[in-house]
Amino acid sequence: MKTNFKKFFTLSFMIMFQWGLAQTSVSGTVSDSSGVPLPGATVIVAGTSNGVTTDFDGVYSISASEGDVLSISYVGFVTQNVTIGASATVNVSLVADNALEEVVVTALGISRDKKSIGFSQQTVAGDVLATAKETDLNVALTGKVAGVQMIGGSSSTFDNGYLRLRGEDNLLYVVDGIKVYSMTDINTDNVESISVLKGAAATALYGADAQSGVIVITSKKAKAGESFFTIDHSTTLSNVSILPEYQNEYGGGYYQSWDTFSYNPAIDPSSWAAFNGQNIPYYAADESWGPKLDGTLARHWDSWIPGHPEFGTVRPWEANPNNVKDFYDTGIENSTSLSFNSGGEKYGMRSSARFVDQTLPYPGTERNQLDFGINQTLEINDKLSAYSALNIQLRKTVNFPEQGYGGLGANFNQWFQRQLDMDRLRDNYNYNGGIYSWNRNSARNATPLFWDAPHFSVNDNRNTQNKEVFFGNLGLNYQINDDFAANVEVRRRSNTYSRNNRTGWGGVNTESYGEGRSNYEENEFEARLNYAKDYGDFDVNALVGYQVTQTGSTSLSSSSVGGLTIPGFYSVASSKDRPSYSSTESNKKQISTFSSVSIGYKSMLYLDGSYRLDWGSTANPDDNRIETFGLSGSFIFDKLINVDAISFAKLRAGYSEAPVFPGVYQTSKVYGTGTAHGSKPRFNVPNTLANPYLTGGTRSEFEVGTEVSFLNNRLGFDLTYYDRVDEDLPISIPVPGSTGYSGLSINSGASSTSGVELTLNATPIQSEDFRWDVSFNIASIKKVTDKLYDGINSRVLDYMSWYSLQLQERVGEEWGTFVGRAPRTDDNGTPIYSASGRTQYEGNQVLGNILPDYTGGFSTSFAYKNWNLDAGFDFQSGGLFSSTSNMFAYYSGMHMDTIGLNDKGNPKRDAVSAGGGVHVVGVTSGGDPVDVYQSASTHFYTNYFGNHPNWLYDASYVKLRTLRIGYDFPKSMLENTNFSDINISVIGNNLLLLYSNIPEGGLDPSEIEGSGSLASSYRSQEGGQLPPARTIGLNLSLKF
């Protein structure tokens, strides 16, 4: 015992790797019964820790002596033991085990035979995830799992992918049993496989936290008989791929005629007399309805910088079509992963480290990240074993780009002057200690009116974030006797974010500085008792468990108010007015017990039940228990129908009920506070009436599905139908504000979701040298609001801009309905205008739905000898989002559509009296005909600003997201080196948007920002989306 404990601790602190100590080298090929080589088969010298895996050709090479026994195993095949004879070549042929013994990970980390599972579950292998070395787990999962919709953030920023599974978005991520706080805590290079548990029956054992689905991640661990070291490096370059269609014929201003400078001896220096009569652009305008870009000489903004060599000079007024493109750089990411793996019969240890350095196409940004992980298992004696894991992430991010309305995305696409030269903006915005913008108030007044120069935002408005993550566990397994086993485990996770941000001096906004820090942690203890026994044709597995979880968070933030007093020095202490300060804390505790039983009959019929009780501190103390249960069954019927081509067929069905606890502190009445008036504090009665009887609501879900595979797994499909009903949800019901409250929290509200999910896998071609695999998935979803409250038929989920666009729940309609104003038409469909051609609107119109009709993906891989090609596509059909960028691109005369010729053949932007303008034909509300020409600047704002249907875009798309072309060095080349595997690949991410349906162009509908002004957590609107970026690079991986 003592020796073994010593060994355990020694191992914990040492990193070990073994070089093969040679005796003789035995090699050979492992293949299946038809002679097709099996790559990745394990070959171990029995009784030692000496093991290797076969390469792509099924070839292995291992050091062993005559008389040693080689144990060769491969998933889906019967393990074989072969004694080494005199020959140094040992070829092995393995026999397939047709019973599809795939083992998958289900709730609470329980491994089950895939065939015995009665609910919908999908596995994604770690190497599929790592195809294009995508570090964002959500983006890597795109198109791989039926029923998962991924909406990206702008890929030229640090934004993460946002996932919805069956229409719900608060998914639980679990790594080796530890619920991680954020998906970004996970090192994608360490993922062995991902098991997606979709429905409530699958997740019932996790309780309330998991009702929207769980992504169970199993980390790579050392296997017995393996000992190796890997280095994996990739370098990728990233460039902006789509930009809007800007017009380049007219420059900045509100009107096309030129203003001229008139020298005023009373206020101007005498040297300025020479400026009299010079053309002065309307600097203060942030729109592009200005003079034609015909080379006229004019005083550009940077000709007014005092002391500048070009002060006072005129330059041609001409186009700079690539100015926005020139703003962006090429982003570079370098990622290096190292891992050490060592495993024997009684122990296993893996440790890994990954270093990532990244800059974005958006300039001035940088991210450095270190992920460190170590896991180990140890058999202490034949009954007791121990395991532990530790994961640490340290991440520093400099300058998250500002998104949304007010960020540079909005500036460049919506409110800009098209003639501006980006290089001059970069070089001259900060001259001789002064800050200058293109958006000056006037020739004599340098103060910017609306916008700073873009590089002021990049260089002077900075923010920094430091993230520290720790999560880990420690556990013991004890085999009590043949039937019973016990397990205890403690887990902890802790995430700390600290950030500071500042607004620079001399810009449009008052200088400021703010900093904050927040910490989120959870400690959990769990104990389980497992029972497993066969009773004749029945095999029974049961488990009973107990869990205590304590969760807490603290956050602190403070910022300056009214400006800073010391120029160039950023600190809250130098705030002009009393700084703002806030500190919050929350705690909750949960005690749970859970049990599950599964019974199998003759390996054909399986029945599963799970039941969980949770007591939570956030609920009403007189009623704080909730029950979750799930029941599922599966019936394997391929042996009954006995068709040769069908190698496996299964029918499954399940039902589950899962309630939820209310959020923290929702049941008690408190006052809100406001910023004090001088020294007098302010309290207010909150707008939502607290409800001490609030419960959490219930979800019940029914699911039925079938899995069939043909021709020894050459073709297979998995079809699922689910129907989910949510009732008694705690919602804040809107009541008339004149009651004194805008909302009452009550338990009411019901919605139902249903959908079909299909996954198809096929291997159309499989031969000695060539193999082609395809995989396709598609899912439909329909979520409907059934009930809100008596007398209340609609509830606003999100108040959006502009002109009261809203995202609502409406009884009887699909959840997530856009409601806004639409242009009126008469009974014949003729548009109704005012007499002057202004669009007339009808409010409160239902304009469409936010959830897609179908989502899915398609992947294909080709393997020819040592070459591989993998491609991943994903698509979405239906769903809407609102675009602010294109709307203001019209409003401000920035868009291509605002120039060109009208139906008379004259430029639209010419004066109406000169034959220009845009032709508007329709009727008035009284029926009188309307046939006028509106000036372009009036038309593109008055008939398009707040024209909701025009700017609610179809989010349908098809995208080639990932591509990998790789080459495995052949074993023959590596024989005399220390390397066992070398692979070099070209990788690409976010490559091609093959289809989208955005009439005014310029946007990638698979990316909708989630942060920034106007952006919404529902991903319903972009306020100033930054462009998407395409990444291409090289990946080298070595194993030895």
């Binding site: 910017p448 506070t673 007098k680």
Partner: protein
């Protein structure tokens, strides 16, 4: 078999034991450490008063009598917004004031530390009346008698304006009845520092204003309420002008200062500037600054309501820098002595008996007070007085129009009532409505959340547009 049975019962027993409890005591885990529960009525009062800038320093109402114009974005002055939401008053200050009243009624001993119970209630009621009065003059019918009942009435009816006025007079008189000379000073009163005499004066001035409003539709009630208010004691000098206590700190500074901090959107209208220039009114240089491009010399007003203005902001007169750069002691007036004087003059012009003085004297006092309020030297004010025409409803109304510069809602409401200036009309490029707005439309939230009551109110009051005249606006 026996072994199996034993094992199963062991499992079952463990399970039952563990699953048996129905609740677990978590102690005070769920007590919110972030928000307070102590009943500080002083903090509630301060919060309610901080809602007043939204009334007295609002931008929009300055457009309707056309004293203010937009420079670049003229959609606001062309009435693009025609639905206005009153919910914020109810969920904000009105509910806070109700809380003060409830606490002083039900938990009197717990809140006496913050002031005499009756005085606290008096102030809360007076402020409620002030806000309800503001609201009914904007929308007409509003929830009043059934409002603020929380879960007890989630569908409050809208009372017609006539009933609201009746109710408000009663509430105001009852409030004044609570005022007493207790020495336990009311805390958190950032308007008058707990001085109940000031509150009585304010309440009577409010009553006087309300009485004048209904003078066309119900002259006898108007006269009696007016006389009561005057006898109860209204503002009696320019130094008693009631204005909101703005601070220099960013969180509570004059909203006009914030509006001009990084933008230049508003300017005095051409009509206003031309009128003052034509009359050689010395208040012009105190109310506005000359255009930047002329070095502050030329006073050029911004034409009102153009669709495509194309005029450079630097060529226009701007609101005086005293307001937009400092603002602490300027603007944000609730009631002024000038208003009181003009009200007295009007009472005389209407032939109401029992009022001291005469119309001309009050008229001149009002003009003088307005000049003093804007910082004009006495000599210049006197010179101007010498040049004005004799008092009549028209001249008094025009002087009032000038005097109420930047007191948006009062200015608009008095224009609606007195109908002078009578030569302004809605701009050609108006986006909504058929004329200058004479009320505000109900917000979309009311239409969707309180539909049946909304429909009932509109059926009695008239279509829910900005052109439907209110009950007291008979002319």
């Amino acid at each position: 078999m026996k072994n199996i049975f034993k094992k199963f019962s062991l499992l079952t027993l463990t399970t039952l034991f563990v699953f048996g409890c129905s609740t677990v005591d978590f102690g005070d885990e769920n007590v919110n450490p972030n928000s307070p529960t102590n009943k500080k009525t002083d903090a509630l009062l301060t919060n309610a008063i901080t809602a007043i800038p939204g009334i007295v320093s609002a931008v929009a109402p300055n457009y309707y009598p056309q004293t203010l114009s937009d420079i670049t974005y003229t959609t606001y002055s062309r009435y693009d917004t025609y639905q206005w939401n009153y919910d914020g008053f109810y969920t904000g200050p009105l509910n806070d004031l109700k809380e003060i009243i409830d606490l002083n009624t039900n938990s009197a001993s717990e809140v006496i530390a913050f002031g005499d119970n009756n005085n606290q209630m008096a102030i809360a009621h007076i402020l409620q009346v002030y806000m309800y009065h503001h609201m009914t003059d904007r929308w007409g019918a509003i929830p009043y008698s059934q409002a603020l009942k929380g879960a007890d009435n989630i569908s409050p009816a809208l009372d017609q304006q006539q009933d609201v006025y009746t109710g408000l007079f009663a509430q105001l008189e009852a409030a004044m009845g609570y005022i007493n000379s207790s020495s336990v000073q009311v805390q958190g009163d950032i308007m008058f520092g707990g001085d109940m005499n000031s509150w009585r004066r304010f309440a009577n001035t409010l009553k006087m204003t309300m009485a004048l409003r209904i003078s066309d539709v119900d002259p006898s009630t108007a006269q009696s309420k007016f006389t009561e208010a005057v006898n109860g004691g209204v503002l009696s000098s320019t130094s008693q002008n009631v204005h909101y206590p703005y601070l220099t700190a960013d969180a509570h500074d004059n909203p006009w200062q914030d509006r001009f901090e990084t933008r230049n959107d508003f300017a005095p209208s051409k009509k206003f500037v031309d009128y003052l220039t034509a009359n050689n009114d010395p208040r012009l240089s105190k109310m506005a600054d000359g255009s930047k491009n002329s070095g502050g010399v030329d006073y050029i007003g911004m034409p009102y309501g153009l669709e495509d203005p194309a005029i450079n902001g630097a060529d226009i007169a701007s609101i005086t820098s005293a307001i937009i750069n400092d603002g602490q002691d300027h603007g944000g007036f609730l009631y002024t002595y000038a208003q009181v004087c003009f009200a007295m003059a009007e009472g005389h012009l209407r032939g109401w008996s029992g009022l001291a003085g005469d119309a001309q004297t009050w008229y001149e006092l009002g003009i003088a007070s307005s000049h003093a309020q804007w910082g004009v030297a006495t000599a210049d004010a006197t010179a101007y007085l010498g040049s004005v025409a004799a008092v009549s409803m028209e001249t008094m109304a025009m002087e009032k129009w000038v005097a109420l510069w930047l007191q948006g809602y009062e200015s608009w409401t008095e224009w609606r009532r007195l109908d002078y200036p009578n030569d302004i009309s809605a701009p050609a490029a108006a986006i909504s409505g058929t004329g200058i707005p004479v009320r505000h439309g109900y917000g979309a939230q009311t239409i969707s959340n309180n539909k049946s009551n909304y429909d009932a109110a509109v059926a009695l009051q008239g279509p829910d547009t900005q052109d439907t005249k209110l009950w007291w606006d008979t002319k």
